[in-house]
Symmetry: C3
Subunit: 256 residues, 3 copies
């Protein structure tokens, strides 16, 4: 059985995800389809791109990852397919894969209509293009057969933290279910920056001068989360709500 993962902003109210699964299983029944989440914030490519790099390494080689956060579906943006670290990725060329595509990635546009549904709508390429592409990939079709090479894939701007006036500056990229605020500052960048010196981390009006290990240690916590990113939490509460923090709020790390 070939594994296909799905990441979308389609939500779980509508039949869209079920329809994609119907299309995949009709083309290739020998697949196991795993939902990552369908609750990416609507049309938030940035959040989807961040999530994607987090989960894909936990799947085995050969897994096909389909990501459909696609606000400009029906326009000029290309559907693409590529391979990295023996994982396959399928989705729109809109920056969704900014964290994953490398300079030497061989990316192909999905253009060969043999590998699409017969009628292509202008609003649901998850069903008409991406699901079939994943199913055919799972059947052993090589990415290069889907269409021409793409040499200028779209990248999102400003997705990495930066050092501004001596201050390591990042942002809140998403909130998890508990209201924990996940930042784009990973432990490697953080540790390189502080270099074992005393530090302060600022978010909103709150300051931390040390890292916690677990969410239950105190009311507000700041820790390296399970994916290696600085994250803010609130024990038995929502950090988002209790601390009044929103997505894209700035996080600053300064040396003392």
């Amino acid at each position: 059985m070939q594994i296909i993962t799905l990441l979308t902003d389609f939500g779980l109210k509508d039949p869209y995800v079920g329809i994609m699964k119907g299309v995949i299983l009709s083309i290739n029944p020998n697949t196991t389809i795993i939902d990552i989440t369908h609750n990416v914030s609507p049309q938030d490519i940035r959040e989807g791109a961040f999530l994607m790099k987090e989960y894909y390494p936990y799947f085995k080689s050969g897994t096909i990852h389909v990501a459909v956060i696609d606000p400009t579906v029906g326009g000029e943006r290309r559907p693409i397919i590529f391979c990295k670290d023996e994982h396959f990725f399928v989705g729109p060329d809109n920056g969704m894969f900014s964290h994953i595509i490398e300079a030497n990635s061989e990316i192909y546009e999905i253009k060969n209509s043999d590998f699409m549904l017969k009628n292509i709508s202008s609003t649901f390429h998850g069903r008409d293009i991406f699901a079939p592409a994943a199913a055919y990939l799972a059947s052993g079709i090589h990415p290069s057969v889907f269409g021409p090479k793409v040499v200028n894939p779209v990248y999102l701007a400003d997705i990495f933290p930066d050092i501004i006036n001596g201050v390591l500056t990042g942002e809140v990229v998403m909130f998890d279910r508990f209201g924990n605020a996940v930042t784009n500052i990973d432990s490697e960048i953080f540790n390189d920056f502080i270099n074992a010196n005393p530090f302060e981390i600022h978010i909103g009006s709150i300051t931390f001068s040390s890292l916690n290990k677990s969410y239950y240690e105190q009311n507000f916590t700041c820790l390296i989360n399970s994916s290696g990113y600085i994250e803010f939490g609130c024990y038995k509460g929502s950090f988002s709500r209790e601390a009044g923090i929103k997505k894209k709020d700035i996080v600053r790390v300064g040396l003392l």
Copy 2:
């Protein structure tokens, strides 16, 4: 592996859906169970019926579709089973299959207790009757073995658009996750009615005199959605909220 799809209004907070899957897999492990959605608006048979005709054609022949929107569970309404286009359907006889049942459909009441759980509750036939029926169907039991023929299945009233005083009149049947308003006016009825003449589409206080192709073309959009129905959207926003539209609001198409 036989595919079984599930459509319910059980939500995703409770263990009901998981329990149905446990029952199915205990009776017949050779099944792949696909969730369509469990977030049909509570007890909204009309919405469920509309969704069902949308997703089932994307599954392959032999798929078993179980639908449990069942506000009168425990009463006189019959559990039924039937086949259409080589697809099987299982659920309550409450109008849920109004868009699918045809005049010559051979419908059977599920009455044979050999194909039910031992104890039948009065509140959870999804577990006690419908899940087992699907599992036994997947094992090759013919629908006619489940019980007697049903000759007068329940139909919902007024589910199709109508021409009233020269105006094609339909309604909003549901909102998708993005707040797009889906109507019951399909492209065939629409095109037959306008017959290539200039037209106006009215919803709430908004008027459209042409169709869009994609959601990102302008703020409010009106397009034929991926399932072939007229749908209203709002780019990067919720049409429902921005335009103040509710389910069952009237949609009118007039000729100029």
Copy 3:
């Protein structure tokens, strides 16, 4: 295919559940993973424990049930594994299994790092410890191989109803999707207590002097639900909202 069920409070917005599935399928692809729910109220061990006893019997022998409601992850609480009624259970030793563990249950601490991911985070044992344990269990590893015996598992207090001054007294343990209020008073305790005598059931300011059979019989209903517990409902509405009832509100059954 070995069945593994998942019960968590991770929600469906984040990739955590998908990551657990990736870990399981990477270790043991011959598994079918079934979601029970990931919407247990955040950190509510009590609710999770109650749900667990409700759904597990509907799965077949040999099923592995993973439960991760784990507010003190990263602390001293032990990860455990045990078998009951030919079902396997994996999760934190925090009371989660209070309804299932018996005096003679052979419980093992998961301590053998051969059966964990290489790097153990302090915040996501679902991924690092519980998912791998389930996958290895499914491969036939015996529970005793995972670590030493646990002789003093944690139990939750006051999870059963009690007779106080001649009144059978229980509580609302959870609300289902429809807003129905589920209590911890099961039909056996209830029937033993009333012993066929006239009774009154009190919740908030509402009194029932008989049980209903179905939710559609009247506006407010009180019935034995499909799992055998006293439950309060509201036809076409939410009992929680309409009757102003909250979790942990007291339910009293008195004899007349």
